[in-house]
């Protein structure tokens, strides 16, 4: 190798520079024919490298082991899968590799993931989920593959990410808490983006009842960009998330939607 003669520090610096160059070229022109899929929210898309989510591996995890945060992460991925499927037109299909039996299909349908777009695959254990996800994304006929995984080794994740890029299919992975003190996003991953979801109190209504659910959506890590955090409203029946309108200037009163509570995440990538 030509830099074999250089001192160790210089060699490392050269390698780092090379890796950065490869990554930059990749993000300048996203791999494959599949363009990035935007959220449709200007404030969010502006913070995403590439202006949206590329076909590749994306991970989401509940911020705490609480059942509600896990439901939020599940529904977040369901909405993303529905958006990928809608982007494919009428025939866009999603495969959901289940490892537990508690998913409630009518609830998913309310996040825009219609039952005739969704095929369930019951798997036994994390290995089978990963294998089914890889086969699904590699084939290329699906818009997205969702999988529920507790633990996944780096080589498996890297394979999945490459297969997803190759097949032009989004691999959406729900990382669950295995133990109370083991953050599922604590381990490194080959994912393009990693998200952390938590439920937030909804805006009080002037009358009895419950308003649209809100989530703390944290982009914990993304390739080619800094982390960030938003307060977003849960997806509607068309799988659209939204920025909450400030109560003072609701869209029906003046101006338009203004972002609130937008702040850079303190979470290190």
């Amino acid at each position: 190798m030509h830099f074999a003669a250089l001192p160790r520090d210089a060699r490392l610096a050269a390698l780092r520079e090379e890796v950065r160059a490869i990554e930059r070229s990749r993000f300048a022109a996203p791999a494959g024919a599949a363009p990035c899929l935007p959220f449709g929210i200007a404030e969010v898309d502006a913070r995403l490298a590439g202006g949206g989510l590329a076909a590749g591996l994306h991970e989401a995890a509940p911020a705490t082991p609480a059942a509600n945060d896990e439901a939020a992460a599940t529904l977040f991925l369901a909405a993303l899968a529905a958006r990928f499927a809608m982007a494919r037109g009428e025939g866009g299909q999603v495969l959901w590799a289940l490892s537990r039996r508690d998913l409630f299909a009518p609830g998913l349908a309310q996040a825009g993931l219609a039952p005739d777009r969704l095929i369930y695959a019951e798997c036994r254990g994390d290995e089978e989920v990963l294998a089914v996800m890889e086969e699904g994304v590699r084939h290329g006929s699906l818009a997205a593959v969702v999988g529920e995984v507790g633990r996944a080794a780096m080589p498996a994740l890297r394979r999945l990410q490459l297969a997803a890029e190759e097949g032009g299919t989004a691999a959406l992975m729900l990382r669950r808490w295995k133990k109370a003190n083991a953050d599922p996003l604590g381990q490194p991953s080959a994912a393009l983006t990693r998200w952390r979801l938590a439920c937030a109190p909804s805006a009080p209504l002037p009358h009895d009842g419950i308003g649209r659910a809100r989530w703390h959506v944290a982009l914990a890590r993304q390739r080619g960009g800094p982390p960030y955090e938003w307060l977003l409203e849960a997806p509607d029946a068309e799988a659209r998330l939204a920025l909450p309108a400030r109560s003072g200037d609701r869209p029906d009163r003046a101006g338009g939607a203004q972002p609130v509570a937008v702040r850079p995440s303190v979470q290190a990538a």
Binding site: D102, P106, P115, E122, S141, S202, A234
Partner: protein, 476 residues
């Protein structure tokens, strides 16, 4: 006038022109004086309390066709359906396999009895004589000696000859009731008086004229049999054998215009044990590469033991599949791969049962509102009531519930050892038990509430008719 008691007498009726006539009558009904072809109104007057059902001609024909197919598979290679009520079996060269004509006839009668049919069999040298004797002979099993057809049919009525309406009514007017009377008459006047049909039928019954029939040909599923000089056991050898079997099977499917829905791979081992592997396909396919890949995925489950001697690949279920145009490179290579191929591969990996869609089922109870459907079938959506993402099964009891009003939403509750204070609530949505399923559900009522606590966590709680609270789901 004596009126018979019709209890237990069963007839079927059908409409002919604008009359309702009896199509069939059970032995008891016949004993009470009813006959096929009698107007239904007359029959009802003669036998009060008669059990009348609608005749199902199509169903009868379907049963007869099935029986004919069975006969062609089991008893003789030449079998055909004869009219709406009979089967012809050509016993030439097959009767000795069943121990002679009498034994074979008895066996077939026994088979029909077990199926619930009353059958009558006549064995004769001609199809016409057998037809006549079976219907008018009056005994369940008649064996007509060779050459004795004329004597056997002579006492039978003319209707046994399968005559048309015109010829039979003309003969009846002339007082010709029995076939024997016709046999005694010179042929030329018969021909002049009744036309050619009567003589043809008579000749057919006596064997003077040939009567071909169109046998049922049972369809064999396309299959390929490979025999090996040396038993094979290694995975590569089995792989190669499967590839060869698929190579031979696909052209046969293509020639017949068929695609496979179900493949059966039968491996016969040296110790004479047969192992079966099944591959079900989501859509009719005859793509050799795809079939081969699916079969290869099952190799791990084959136990070759001391080796496999024979391998049979059968397309057990086939569907018509027209040739498809090659989607062109002209349109670019942007055509997405076929989802059905992926579904097949996953079904082989996981088992077809674990690959499904969920579709709406008409039930208000959440745990019954989703039903499984095939992976590529259409699925119906649910009505837009608030529904959680995760459903607990079974619902978990919550305690220390406090509500302002007995029928209001809870203000606080405790679930899995944690106390929650409700900040906002929506409800109730009342769901009644499905009383038509079981008696215990008759009184069952659930009032569902969607509640949100101070941190934004949302739950789906319900109160039962006994005022106990349960947590059924978790919202996002």
């Amino acid at each position: 006038m004596l009126r018979a008691d019709g209890a237990g007498a069963l007839v079927t009726a059908h409409k002919v022109g604008n009359q309702n006539l009896l199509a069939a009558a059970c032995p008891r009904a016949r004993a009470l004086g009813l006959a096929v072809g009698m107007p239904l109104a007359t029959a009802r007057i003669l036998v009060p309390g008669l059990d009348v059902r609608a005749a199902d001609a199509e169903g009868d024909a379907a049963w007869l066709a099935r029986l004919g197919l069975f006969a062609a598979r089991r008893w003789t290679p030449r079998a055909a359906v004869s009219g709406p009520d009979g089967l012809w079996l050509d016993l030439t060269g097959t009767a000795h396999l069943f121990g002679g004509e009498r034994a074979m006839g008895a066996r077939i009668l026994g088979f029909c009895r077990r199926l619930g049919f009353t059958a009558r069999i006549a064995v004769a040298g001609t199809a016409g004589a057998a037809h006549a004797l079976a219907r008018f002979g009056g005994e369940p099993l008649i064996l007509c000696p060779s050459g004795g057809e004329a004597d056997a049919v002579a006492p039978l009525p003319l209707a046994a000859l399968r005559l048309g309406e015109v010829a039979s009514s003309a003969a009846h007017r002339l007082g010709l009731d029995r076939i024997g009377a016709l046999l005694a008459m010179p042929r030329a006047p018969l021909q002049r008086r009744f036309g050619p049909e009567l003589l043809t039928r008579l000749d057919q019954a006596l064997g003077r004229a040939a009567e071909p029939f169109d046998p049922i040909v049972p369809e064999e599923p396309p299959s390929v049999l490979l025999r090996f000089m040396e038993p094979i056991a290694g995975a590569e050898a089995i792989e190669e054998a499967i590839a060869e079997a698929v190579r031979r099977l696909v052209p046969r499917l293509a020639a017949a215009g068929l695609g496979v829905r179900r493949l059966v791979l039968a491996c016969q081992r040296v110790d004479n044990e047969e192992q079966h592997q099944y591959v079900n396909l989501a859509r009719a396919v005859r793509d050799g590469d795809h079939l081969r890949r699916l079969l290869w995925a099952t190799i791990a489950t084959i136990e070759p033991g001391f080796g496999i001697e024979r391998l049979r690949l059968t397309a057990a279920r086939v569907e018509p599949l027209a040739p498809r145009p090659i989607d062109g490179a002209l349109a670019g290579d942007g055509t997405a791969p076929d989802l059905a191929l992926l579904v097949d591969r996953l079904a082989v990996r996981l088992g077809a049962r674990r690959l499904y869609r969920l579709t709406a089922r008409e039930s208000d109870l959440p745990e019954r509102s989703a039903a499984r459907a095939g992976a590529l079938e259409a699925a119906a959506d649910w009505p837009r009531w608030p529904r959680p993402v995760h459903l607990l099964s079974p619902p978990e009891p919550v305690d220390q519930v406090m509500a302002l009003l007995p029928d209001g939403a809870p203000l606080r509750f405790k679930w899995r050892g944690r106390a929650y204070r409700v900040a906002a609530a929506d409800g109730p949505e009342r769901v009644y038990g499905e009383w038509w399923r079981q008696a215990a559900e008759r009184e069952a009522v659930r009032d569902y509430f969607q509640v949100e606590d101070e941190t934004g966590a949302r739950f789906w709680l319900y109160r039962k008719e006994d005022l106990s609270w349960h947590l059924h789901g978790v919202f996002a």
